[in-house]
C-alpha cells in the first residue's frame, strides 16, 4: 500500500475561479428581484434622509422657517415663502416633504444606532453565556427569558417613561428592549458551533480560548446575527415611531415619523388625510423594505436552503 506515490494528483476538480463566501453570498442575494428592489428602496430612503438638508425647501426644526400661516395646506399648495408643498403641510405649517425626510433621519439614526449597540451587547452576552456554561449561562438566559416574556414595546415604553424624552434616551430604551433577542440568537448558534469539530481541532492546535471564541466561533455565528439584526432594526424603527406616536418618544420640536403621524391623526376624520398618511407611507416603505431584505438574507444565509 505504501508504495503508491502520486504527489500532484489532487489538483483536478478545483473551481476555476476562486470565489470568497462573500462573493457567493452577493451573487445569491441579487438573484431575487424583490430583495434587490427592496434594497434599492431602502438605499434610496437612506440617501434621501442623508441629503435632506440640501434637497428640502424648508428646515422643519428651524422655527423661523416654519409659518403657521401655511398650516394644513393640501398637497400641491404654494407655501407663503413661494415653494410648492407637494405633500401638503401639517398643523404647525411644516412642509410635509421636508418634515418626512428630516423625520426619517431621526428614525433611521435611532433604528440603526440602537440596532448596532443592541447587537454588540447581545452578542457579547450571548457568547459569554454559551462559552461559560453552567451557572453563569443559566442566570443570563433566565434574564433573557424573563425579558422576552414581555413585549418589546412594553419594555421600551417603561424605559422611556423612566428615562425621559430625547434621541439618546430613546436609543438607550430600544437597546434595553432588544439586546435579549441578539443574546438568545448568538447563544443558540454558538452552542451549535462549539460542538463542531473545527473547534476541537482548534483546541488541539493549542489556540487560546479567547481566540477560539472570537476568531473561530463568532464568525460562524454571523449569518443568523445579520438576519436578526436587520429584522430587529426594522422593528426598532417602528418601535420608535410607536413611542413617538404615543407621545413619550421624541419632542414635538424635533418631529420623527411617529410624531408626524400622531400630529396628523386628529385631522384624519376631517379629510386632511395627508398629514398622517404620507409619513405613514414613508415609515411603511422603510420597515417593509428592511424586512424584505432581512427575509431574503435569511433564505440566502440558511444552510438548510443552500443549493
Amino acid at each position: 500500500m505504501s508504495d503508491v506515490t502520486t504527489d500532484n494528483a489532487l489538483s483536478a476538480g478545483e473551481p476555476p475561479v476562486v470565489e470568497t463566501p462573500f462573493q457567493r453570498f452577493r451573487a445569491e442575494f441579487f438573484e431575487s428581484r424583490i430583495a434587490t428592489a427592496a434594497l434599492g428602496v431602502f438605499g434610496a430612503i437612506v440617501l434621501l434622509a442623508v441629503l435632506a438638508p440640501w434637497i428640502t425647501p424648508q428646515n422643519p426644526y428651524d422655527l423661523a422657517q416654519v409659518s403657521v400661516m401655511d398650516g394644513r395646506l393640501p398637497p400641491g399648495s404654494e407655501a407663503f415663502d413661494g415653494y410648492t408643498m407637494w405633500l401638503g403641510s401639517d398643523g404647525s405649517g411644516r412642509d410635509l416633504y421636508s418634515a418626512i425626510l428630516y423625520g426619517l433621519r431621526i428614525s433611521l439614526t435611532v433604528g440603526l444606532a440602537s440596532g448596532v449597540i443592541a447587537l454588540l451587547i447581545g452578542m457579547a452576552i450571548g457568547l459569554v453565556a454559551a462559552y461559560a456554561g453552567g451557572r453563569i449561562e443559566a442566570i443570563i438566559m433566565r434574564i433573557v427569558d424573563l425579558q422576552l416574556s414581555f413585549p418589546a414595546s412594553l419594555v421600551a415604553l417603561m424605559m422611556v417613561a423612566a428615562l425621559g424624552k430625547g434621541v439618546d434616551k430613546i436609543i438607550l430604551a430600544l437597546v434595553i428592549a432588544q439586546w435579549a433577542y441578539y443574546a438568545r440568537t448568538v447563544r443558540a448558534t454558538a452552542l451549535v458551533e462549539r460542538g463542531k469539530e473545527y473547534v476541537e481541532a482548534a483546541q488541539c492546535l493549542g489556540i487560546s480560548r479567547f481566540r477560539i471564541v472570537f476568531r473561530h466561533i463568532l464568525p460562524n455565528c454571523m449569518a443568523p446575527l445579520i438576519v436578526v439584526g436587520t429584522v430587529q432594526t426594522a422593528s426598532a424603527i417602528s418601535l420608535e415611531a410607536t413611542l413617538s406616536f404615543l407621545g413619550v418618544g421624541l419632542p414635538q420640536t424635533e418631529p420623527s415619523i411617529g410624531v408626524l403621524i400622531a400630529n396628523g391623526f386628529e385631522y384624519m376624520l376631517s379629510g386632511r388625510y395627508w398629514i398622517s398618511v404620507f409619513p405613514g407611507v414613508a415609515l411603511l416603505l422603510t420597515v417593509v423594505s428592511i424586512n424584505l431584505v432581512g427575509d431574503h438574507l435569511r433564505d440566502v444565509l440558511n444552510p438548510r436552503l443552500k443549493k
Binding site: 500500500m1 505504501s2 508504495d3 503508491v4 506515490t5 502520486t6 504527489d7 500532484n8 494528483a9 489532487l10 489538483s11 476538480g13 478545483e14 473551481p15 476562486v18 470565489e19 470568497t20 463566501p21 463542531k196 469539530e197 473545527y198 476541537e200 481541532a201 482548534a202 483546541q203 488541539c204 492546535l205 493549542g206 489556540i207 487560546s208 481566540r211 476568531r215 473561530h216 464568525p219 460562524n220 454571523m222
Partner: protein, 325 residues
C-alpha cells in the same frame, strides 16, 4: 530509540446518569521517536478516547481516573490546562477523521495555519506564512501559495486532509495522533495520504499514533500495532507478528473477516454477536461471550502477559489461532 510517549494503566471513565462508562480501562503502550503505532479497534472500543486523553481534551462527565501519560518523561495526565495548551499543536498534534469538518469554514487556509504557528511561537506573520507555504508543499499540494488563499470549501477532501496534515506538522511536533485520518477518503487518496504521512514521519522523526479500524491501512503503515477491545488493549506487538500470526481470538477474528483474493468463494470468518454495551460489560474477559476459543477460564479477567514477543490478554492463544486457519 528514545521513548516519546509512555502510557501506563490509563483509565478514562465517563460518569453518566446511566452509570460509569469505562471507555478506556487500563491501557499501556509506548511510542518511540519516529515510530508509527497502529491503534486498532471497532467503533466504541476506546481508541479515540485514548487519543483525546493524551491531549487532555476529555470533557466532563469524563475524566482520567487513573494511570500515567509520560510525554518525553514529563507526566501530563491531568496536567495544568496552560501546560497542555502549550503542548497541543506544538509538541503533540492531532489529525481528525473528517477533513470537511475540522477546518473552520469561514477562515481562509492561511489564516488558520498562521494562527497555529503564532499560538506557539513569536515569529512574524511573514515567517509564519512562509512556513505554512513550505508545509503545504511538503504534503504534496501543488501551487501552495494559491491554496493558502483558498477557503476550505474550495478544496477537495483529499486536499483538505493534506492541509490538516500540514497543519499538524507545522510546529514539528514530537507526536502526532491521527484519528482515522483516511476513513473519510476514497482508496486512492487514502494511499496517497498514508504515503505522505509515512514520508513526513521519516523525515522529521515525529512519532505517530494512527488510530483506525482498518487493518489493511495499519498493515502497510505501522511498525507496531495495538488492538483494543472494550477499553482494553488485547494484543500488542510488531506488525508482522500480529498480522501474520494473531494470537488473540479477537485479532484472529478481525483478520479472518477481511476478504482476501486467495480465499475466494469461501465464507468469511465472522465474529459472533455485537460489541458489548459499555455500561454492562460481561464478567471476566470482555470478549468472552463472542469468542470462538472460549473456555471456563474466561469467566475471569485475563491480565496482559508478554507471550512470544508481544503482549496478550488471553488465556487460550493456541486455541484461538487454530480455530480459523
Amino acid at each position: 530509540m528514545s521513548r516519546v510517549l509512555e502510557v501506563s494503566g490509563l483509565k478514562t471513565h465517563f460518569f453518566t446518569h446511566a452509570g460509569v462508562v469505562k471507555a478506556v480501562d487500563g491501557v499501556d503502550f509506548t511510542v518511540s521517536k519516529g515510530e508509527i503505532m497502529g491503534l486498532v479497534g471497532e467503533s466504541g472500543s476506546g481508541k479515540s478516547i485514548t487519543g483525546f486523553s493524551i491531549l487532555g481534551l476529555i470533557d466532563p462527565p469524563g475524566r482520567i481516573v487513573e494511570g500515567s501519560i509520560r510525554f518525553n518523561g514529563e507526566e501530563i495526565a491531568n496536567a495544568k490546562e496552560e501546560r497542555l495548551q502549550n503542548l497541543r499543536g506544538n509538541r503533540i498534534s492531532m489529525i481528525f477523521q473528517d477533513p470537511m469538518m475540522t477546518l473552520n469554514p469561514v477562515l481562509r487556509v492561511d489564516t488558520q495555519m498562521i494562527e497555529a504557528i503564532l499560538a506557539h511561537e513569536p515569529v512574524s506573520k511573514q515567517t509564519a506564512w512562509e512556513r505554512s507555504r513550505d508545509a503545504l508543499g511538503l504534503v504534496g499540494i501543488p501551487s501552495p501559495e494559491e491554496r493558502l488563499r483558498a477557503y476550505p470549501h474550495q478544496l477537495s477532501g483529499g486536499m483538505r486532509q493534506r492541509v490538516a496534515i500540514a497543519t499538524a506538522f507545522l510546529n514539528k511536533p514530537d507526536l502526532i495522533i491521527a484519528d482515522e485520518p483516511t476513513t473519510a477518503l476514497d482508496v486512492t487518496i487514502q494511499a496517497q495520504i498514508i504515503h505522505e504521512a509515512q514520508k513526513l514521519t521519516k523525515k522529521t522523526g515525529t512519532a505517530m499514533i494512527w488510530i483506525t479500524h482498518d487493518l489493511a491501512v495499519v498493515a502497510g503503515l505501522a511498525e507496531r500495532i495495538s488492538v483494543m477491545y472494550a477499553g482494553r488493549i488485547v494484543e500488542q506487538g510488531g506488525i508482522d507478528d500480529v498480522i501474520d500470526r494473531p494470537l488473540h481470538p479477537y485479532t484472529v477474528g478481525l483478520l479472518g473477516s477481511v476478504p482476501t483474493a486467495n480465499r475466494r468463494g469461501q465464507r468469511l470468518f465472522q465474529i459472533e454477536g455485537m460489541t458489548p454495551n459499555m455500561l454492562a460489560l460481561p464478567e471476566g474477559c470482555a470478549f468472552g461471550p463472542r469468542c470462538h476459543a472460549r473456555t471456563d477460564a474466561c469467566g475471569l479477567q485475563p491480565s496482559i502477559e508478554d507471550i512470544d514477543g508481544r503482549s496478550l490478554r488471553c488465556f487460550n492463544p493456541q486455541r484461538a489461532a487454530e480455530a480459523v486457519t
